[in-house]
């Protein structure tokens, strides 16, 4: 049987599927289709997708996962995941106050664009949520225009405020909670991205599409007040 990925041992209780290292829509489709058939896999605790990998974490107190067994399982269910359609989600529009982006001027200089052009380019595409990782609710998005693909900051910041919208390398993202980071900060959103009281605790999920919508500082403050009671801003 030939499978389009390799299987590696990640740890005593985890295996990992590895595709060739690229951001590729068909790889994403396969990864999320495989996640869809994993319910039938005994002892599985977590399925962690990235652009080209799928980590499978099993019960550490259960039997050790075997690569051969997983191969057989995926081979048996191949019809279901090989032909599955791409995962689709909701479309989300995220309000962003670009005036609050500390590095916006630096980004304009580095990309040889005006500040207005940086904002326009960042707002133009429809981004796709490939997977979540790094911190709770942090979405890895694909679709950043080449003109905005810049090297990361030479020295990372120790703390980036929650709600920061940033770009780094070929990626753009929004920080749901305060965290360290080396990306350029180009704006701030008042929208909470993590809410433990909602049924879906993260505002974004794999398969969702996303566009950014510029708002003024006044609008930002207004929306922040509406969300003031929100635990993730404390």
């Amino acid at each position: 049987m030939t499978l389009p990925f390799q299987i590696e041992t990640l740890s005593e209780n985890a295996l990992m599927l590895r595709w060739p290292p690229r951001q590729d829509p068909d790889t994403q489709r396969q990864i999320h289709a495989i996640i869809g058939v994993l319910d039938a896999l005994p002892g599985l605790r977590d399925a962690v997708p990235t652009y080209h990998c799928l980590g499978l974490w099993f019960d550490p107190n259960g039997p050790q996962p075997e690569i051969e067994n997983l191969k057989q399982f995926l081979h048996q269910h191949r019809k279901k995941w090989r032909s599955a359609p791409p995962v689709t989600g909701r479309h989300r529009t995220l309000p962003v106050c670009y005036e609050l982006g500390e590095d916006l001027d630096t980004v304009a200089q580095l990309s040889q664009l005006s500040v207005e052009a940086v904002i326009a380019r960042h707002c133009a595409p429809t981004y796709s949520v490939c997977f979540l990782g790094f911190t709770p609710g942090f979405a890895y998005l694909s679709g950043l225009p080449e003109a905005l693909q810049l090297p990361r900051r030479a020295s990372p910041r120790a703390t980036i405020p929650a709600g920061s919208v940033a770009i780094g390398g070929s990626q753009t993202g929004i920080y749901p909670s305060p965290s360290p980071g080396g990306w350029h900060l180009i704006g701030r959103t008042p929208q909470p991205l993590l809410d433990l009281n909602q049924e879906s605790v993260t505002w974004l999920l794999p398969g969702d599409t996303l566009t950014f919508e510029p708002i003024s500082t006044e609008q930002y403050q207004q929306l922040c007040q509406q969300n003031e009671a929100h635990p993730c801003w404390k």
Binding site: P21, P49, L132, G133, P136, F138
Partner: protein
């Protein structure tokens, strides 16, 4: 009720961590030294993942507002109960109004305080573990503060006695940690990784143990983000490895040069900043044997604990 008089350096509620949430970006969290936490709970005849306190370097001072039974396991501190020295590694009866002062770690880094019946905190996303960096779980998503009052249950030790075979202590320095080379490990790093001594940086926390030493030659400049786990050793461009710990993020973008054998996670968790370690190479088969051996030791401990509590004999 257990009242916090002094919180210590970083005291958090932990269990064995959160599963089923990694795809949303949550850490697994849970006790940094799962083995010590399991031992503490088994001494009280309760499941390994019962919520307990993880005390770091400087322990808390607590007052108990009901009778209970506790167990202290992990780094040896200088625990005093109403001024009287206590033995770690065995069940201890505590009475209403008594004050427990853990003191400082004399060796090692983390001590676990288990309470019979467990700390009564509500689970968040299926676990009572605290993920400090995002402020969720445990006690209000944070380390304990003076004045906190954590609910506990009333319990008694049926037949108090003082003869209990205690478990062996903390590893000597430099600590030896068994690792399996990872997917981005390259043969030319062998000498640097396995022959040199590393030191735990003061910038280490529950997310990652930062190791200081002569920089390792680069593996690969940058990789596309991949799944990572507790025990994964990443190599950032600085050449100073980071070993991911209990609050590890589920994905990471630095080359993965090795994975720490699960049986040695607790060795890493018990290193204090400034302490030294060496890595030794092993394979998955050996790592599994080490884990089986550790499970056998835990099973033997459960039998001793049952005898101690006069159950099953």
């Amino acid at each position: 009720m257990l009242e916090v008089i002094k919180p210590g350096l970083q005291t958090t509620v932990q269990d064995h961590g959160r599963s089923g949430q990694a795809h949303l970006g949550f850490a697994q969290s849970g006790a940094a030294d799962l083995l010590a936490a399991s031992v503490a709970n088994r001494l009280l005849l309760q499941p390994d993942d019962t919520p307990l306190l993880e005390c770091t370097l400087v322990g808390p001072t607590l007052t108990f507002h009901c009778d209970t039974v506790i167990a202290l396991v992990g780094a040896p501190m200088a625990p005093l109960l109403d001024g009287q020295p206590l033995q770690q590694g065995q069940p201890i009866a505590v009475f209403r109004g008594q004050r427990l002062d853990l003191g400082r770690a004399r060796r090692g880094c983390r001590t676990y305080l288990a309470v019979k019946g467990g700390l009564q905190v509500p689970p968040v996303l299926g676990s009572c573990a605290t993920q400090l960096n995002v402020g969720i779980g445990g006690w209000k998503g944070r380390a304990l503060q003076a004045g906190d009052r954590l609910p506990i249950q009333r319990h008694h030790l049926p037949h108090p006695q003082d003869s209990f075979t205690r478990l062996g202590g903390i590893t000597p320095e430099p600590a030896l940690i068994a690792v399996i080379p990872g997917p981005h490990y390259r043969e030319h790093q062998h000498r640097a990784l396995f022959r040199r001594q590393w030191r735990l940086s003061a910038h280490s926390d529950r997310m990652g143990a930062r190791l200081e030493g002569e920089p390792l030659p680069e593996a690969k400049a940058e990789i596309l983000t991949e799944p990572v786990q507790r025990g994964t050793i990443q190599l950032p461009p600085s050449g100073q490895p980071i070993a991911l710990m209990a609050d590890s993020q589920p994905t990471g973008g630095y080359p993965k040069i090795a994975q720490i054998a699960r049986a040695d996670w607790s060795v890493l968790a018990q290193l204090a900043p400034g302490q030294t370690l060496r890595f030794i190479q092993c394979d998955w088969e050996q790592a599994r044997m080490m884990q089986a051996e550790q499970r056998a030791r835990l099973a033997r401990l459960s039998i001793s604990a049952k005898r101690f509590w006069r159950e099953g004999s």
